[in-house]
Amino acid sequence: MSNLRLINETTASSVSSVDVTDVFSADFDIYKISVVGDFTNTNQIINARFINSSGSVVTASNYNYAILSMESGNLFVEDRNQNQNYMRRMVYSHTGVDFGFVLYIFNPYSSSSYSFLLSQGTGAPSGKGTSNKGIAVLKQTASMTGIRFYNVDFTDISVKCYGLRVDS
């Protein structure tokens, strides 16, 4: 028996954003999200925002992020910023070649701590294999219950959200 609890699977096609709602709760502190899919345009970056307990997408400029994008055919890119209204670059890929990424999210439901995110993704912008690894934080002590992925037109996307069970 593993310590992952599958909470929700969200699938969609022909959409410009995907909301995964009502997945973060008091039941777990740490969540793992795995995502696979494809989109319609060339060389696109998928971004993310949290959804709060009122069901609203958080667009306040309270996000910080830092990502290293490792491209097989180009220089590696450091992509970082503070006080932004989104979390950037969950993955970087290209139409027709798909993508995959995994996130770990810490304390999203807690109203007394910030929500932290680790990302690890892989795609192929311009047909060149690319991996990225990043961190992000929402500097709000508010309760988050979901997450939005956006910034591209998805041809298809599958999002699976797991809670990490704690035994003691």
Partner: protein
Amino acid sequence: MPYIGTQPNDVKKNTGLYTPSEILQLTKDGSWGGSLELIDSLSWTSTTNNLEFTNLKEDIYDVHIIQVKARPNGPSGSFYYRTSSNGGTSYDSTTGNYQFAVQRCFANGTFDEQKSNNAGVIELYGNAGATVQARSNRTTYMYNAGNPNKYTYFTDHSTCDNNGFNSTFGGGVRSSASVVNAIQFFTNAGGGFANGEAFLYGVKQI
């Protein structure tokens, strides 16, 4: 019914506990057993050149996790993945069918970039030594192996020691769409792996 939510009789928060009746229901639904399935494991104590998983259950899982804890016969080599579309009868080494990009991090202060967009193998690095405590430890995610129309992607993170700690993170892709139904992991350090173990998991779907 993969997840039931807060239980009224839970004595602790954040435990994801189930009642016996819920376990029975989950078992009937095929959802009991957690969200990782151990598909296969390898363990060896004498020199082994190639670690191969030839049963990926790629028709069931679109995301896999591979964990390797292995000690090479010699120091200072690298580590590689290749894929097969014929169940492991042969492994694709066609130049141009793979790409990779990896950041290497050495505790002595050196960080460097390793990459290729025209490779015959996914090279993921990791500078392990041949001493007992200097194994290469790594976790790899693999995406879309079973889809004939999609590339098969890998992300990887490793930690090891060779007279100095080092780690790697990055990934690669088989940029030739095909079903991948077997994978091979190997090293050029000292002619193979002296000992170790490896595990292949499928990330369960509802």
